[in-house]
Amino acid sequence: MISTPRKVACVEIGGIPIALSTCDEGFLDLLRQRYDGFLSSSRPEFELEFDLTSTGPVSDDDVRVRREGDEWLIKRGDFHARWDPRTGRGSVRQNANPYSLDSVLRILHSLILAERGGFLLHAASAVCDGRAYLFSGVSGAGKTTMTRLAPADITLLTDEISYLRPSAEGYSAFGTPFAGELARAGENCTAPVAALFFLEQGPENRVDELSSAEAVRRLMRNILFFAEDQGLVEKLLATACEFVARVPIRRLTFYPDGRVWDEVRNFARNFAGNLQEVPEHA
């Protein structure tokens, strides 16, 4: 019996190339369209083989991510995946819908990043004057609004899921194809993180300090993490504390018009100008 040849698309998000293979031409087209701008000719670090089940709706079930021996098992109503971090290879059975695909990729990246001191954050991010600014908060806090209000010289990295990795200077943010309400993928580029703002809407624009503990608490609440694994939870908490120690984190109360970006630029100028005097979190 001759097996159907698998076609491969290499998708590189956050500088991590992953080969996605399938026998289904239609699914390959979907992959290429969805991750256009993130397709890569780099040598893949990881491989995922997709086998399709009958098309169906995206599941509302909670995702479960747990270890079984050396492998990770990732399950939700609309997909079932296995991934072996030692070999870097895994397989996915899922419906041929893009939302399941996004979910599988996000979970895989969250596992890879957790081992490398990075994380995915429920936050919009954008590059302004060569530095990345993150805007996090609960649904409705204003992540997509901040990206809609951004001036023309701002480069959007994402309006929904920010991708963060440690770097020599602190942390770097990367563009992602994971879009929120804006329904637009971010630019495939990276920049050093200048600040993280937790958003709240109010009658005026203002920036307030947060204590370290409050910053960690808010950060942990917004990190995308799914694994039921003691070791990774410990790493994640250590990573959150490290991030809080190295990146300025503030509360940004904003009135939703374009002037909020003036506030962001002012913060950047003042913080850079007073770097020696501004204490890290209390």
Binding site: M220, R221, E228, V233
Partner: protein, 101 residues
Amino acid sequence: MPETCIYIARSSAIAARALAGEMMVMNSADSTFFTLNEVATVIFQAADGHTPLREIVRDRVCEQFDIDPEQAQADAEQFVSELSGHGILLVSNQPLASETP
């Protein structure tokens, strides 16, 4: 009637980290996250499974903080009850093997 001793130990299913004088604790089973104040941190760190809670309050809490001993004991029992309800602390009237090093 002899006084009942309460022994407390930290669960092994948690991650904890001190930052700027506060202890952050996360339950890895359900990802609930807690920030402990200074007094709660002292109790949490002393939860070795074989030191009675009353002794922890008397020798650690009352030694370090200006606090009424009876009030401290009552607060400590409430704190222990809350954290045990979230699986952060294990509680027994017998000495426990501490689950964390």
